[in-house]
Amino acid sequence: MFLALRELRFAKGRFSLVGLVIALVATLMVLLSGLATGLVDDGIAGLRALPATHLAFDEDADVSFPSSIVERDTWESLAEAPGVEEAAPLGNTLFNARTDQDVPVDLALFGVEPDSFLAPEPQDGAPLGAEADGVVIAEAIADQGVEIGDRLSIEVVGLDLTVAGIAPTGTFGHVPVAYAPLDVWQQAAFGHSPDAADRASTIALRLDDGADVAGLDAGHGTETVTRSESFHASPGYTEETQTMQMIQAALYLISAVLVGAFFVVWTVQRRQEIGVLKALGATDRLLLREALGQSAILIAASAAAGLAVGSLLGSLVGDQVPFSLQLGPVLSSMGLLVLFGLVGAAFAIRRITAVDPLIALGGSR
């Protein structure tokens, strides 16, 4: 890398200019990655916190929480089925509630049987079922000034709830989760309809490793997915991840085009010099290796700088924004950024092979 390094030093102005732009793209990438992870977490943390391995949806519901309704027969029968350790109904609906002080509070109401394996363990206050209308709320709701003993009313269905406990129940669809006894949730979701008491949204399952999922589904008219597959069923999840992925893909492309364009100009400017080097007997291989090494150093150093700045900025982001930097996604996005940059550079650098050493003899040719 005799030539590559000396060129980097000699033309540091030009290289730092593109380097700066690549670093900015990398910074954006880091922030975006943190936002993507944070946002996704905000959408499904409540599902991730479930002590279940699988969720069974109504087979006609297309694995969607709002459209799935399962019956008591189904969960009682599933609980007895081979390979099933635990099966419990889970109600799942988003509501707007109001506090005593008339403060609006959005909540994702999860209805569970208080004695099932799904019931949350409150850090403060009483567990589910201690009071008939008692709910266990997420810390995020408590942070809005709601205290144990306060009332939460869901006006659309004319239902009053009492805050019984507080637990790290997470969020669902960007809304904090509140656990209610199943019968309370059934009232909220179905009103006084006669068969409300036999219904839930999905069935949370704890399956043995070798459980025959297809067999269970065939026997019960359900569609069972793993807990992480169920994330796609939560509102907005697929759209959000796709949007983020599209922005990221655009940034990868920008990086490739940016680096490519720079190295096209750089290679064209150095045509005479490349001709001289070839006339002195430099092989294409050596020149390509130098140029590719040079672009690799440039891109990697710029990405590293962008990573540092992005992480720093990320650490300054407040609680209001769902932001979570995680090593895996950040590093893989940086890796792809470098890779795409290299592809762009490779395309530009190819034209080294087309330079004729004859041009070393003079500009007239």
């Binding site: 005799f2 030539l3 030093r9 000699f10 001289v276 002195l280 007997g281 050596l286």
Partner: protein
């Protein structure tokens, strides 16, 4: 014999547009001999260097450099020949902008696969020979035209070439500097026992040459 050209013809274009850059050219140069080539612009002087230096393959004829048949050689073999047996001093834009004077001189060795810096002593000796040891850390843009040509000469000698090809080394220089450069070339040709061809259109630069040939319309003849 270091360089042997026999009945070499190089044409550009075709049909009515055809130009004979070289027309039935024969030339032999021995080690330690400085051959000057003069001729008007467009007469084929650079073409002669291109063919002799394995940069361009003629349409017909024989080219042999240091025992290697250039016509038969592959592209890779020609590059290797240039790397190991031929030194070039080009008319202009001879140097690599990002390298210091010392690094310019080390470059041929690097292209041969040596570690950079391995041949520092040899490079320094060459820089002393061309009187530029004190500018070793300077870059081309900090040098005068004559100094650049001298760096080019030192670099061309670094791979101990059998054949040294020099294109218009004095065109950018005043008369006195020009003579200095040609004198330097003559001394280096003798000291390193290299076969040198120097192209020039300046007839006042010929006193150091062992032989002077004239190029006209692609024909090489004895100078009058």
């Amino acid at each position: 014999m270091t360089l042997r050209l026999e009945q070499v013809t190089l044409t550009h274009g075709d049909g009515d547009e055809q130009v004979h850059a070289l027309d039935d050219v024969g030339l032999e140069v021995q080690p330690g001999e400085l051959v000057a080539i003069v001729g008007p612009s467009g007469s084929g002087k650079s073409s002669l260097l291109a063919v002799s230096g394995a940069l361009q393959t003629p349409n017909a004829g024989q080219v042999e450099v240091d025992g290697v048949d250039v016509i038969r050689a592959s592209k890779a073999e020609r590059a290797r020949l240039r790397r190991e047996r031929i030194g070039f001093v080009f008319q202009a834009d001879n140097l690599v902008a990002s390298l210091t004077v010392l690094e310019q001189v080390l470059l041929p060795r690097y292209l041969q696969g040596h570690r950079p810096g391995q041949d520092r002593d040899a490079a320094h000796r060459l820089l002393e020979e061309v009187g530029l040891a004190h500018r070793a850390t300077h870059r081309p843009h900090q040098l005068s035209g004559g100094e650049r040509q001298r760096v080019g000469i030192a670099r061309a000698l670094m791979n101990d070439p059998a054949l040294l090809l020099v294109d218009e080394p004095t065109s950018a220089l005043d008369h006195r500097r020009g003579l200095e450069i040609v004198g330097l070339l003559a001394r280096e040709t003798a000291a390193h026992r290299v076969a040198t061809i120097m192209v020039t259109h300046d007839h006042s630069m010929l006193e150091h040459a062992d032989r002077t040939l004239a190029m006209e319309d692609g024909h090489l003849t004895r100078a009058h």
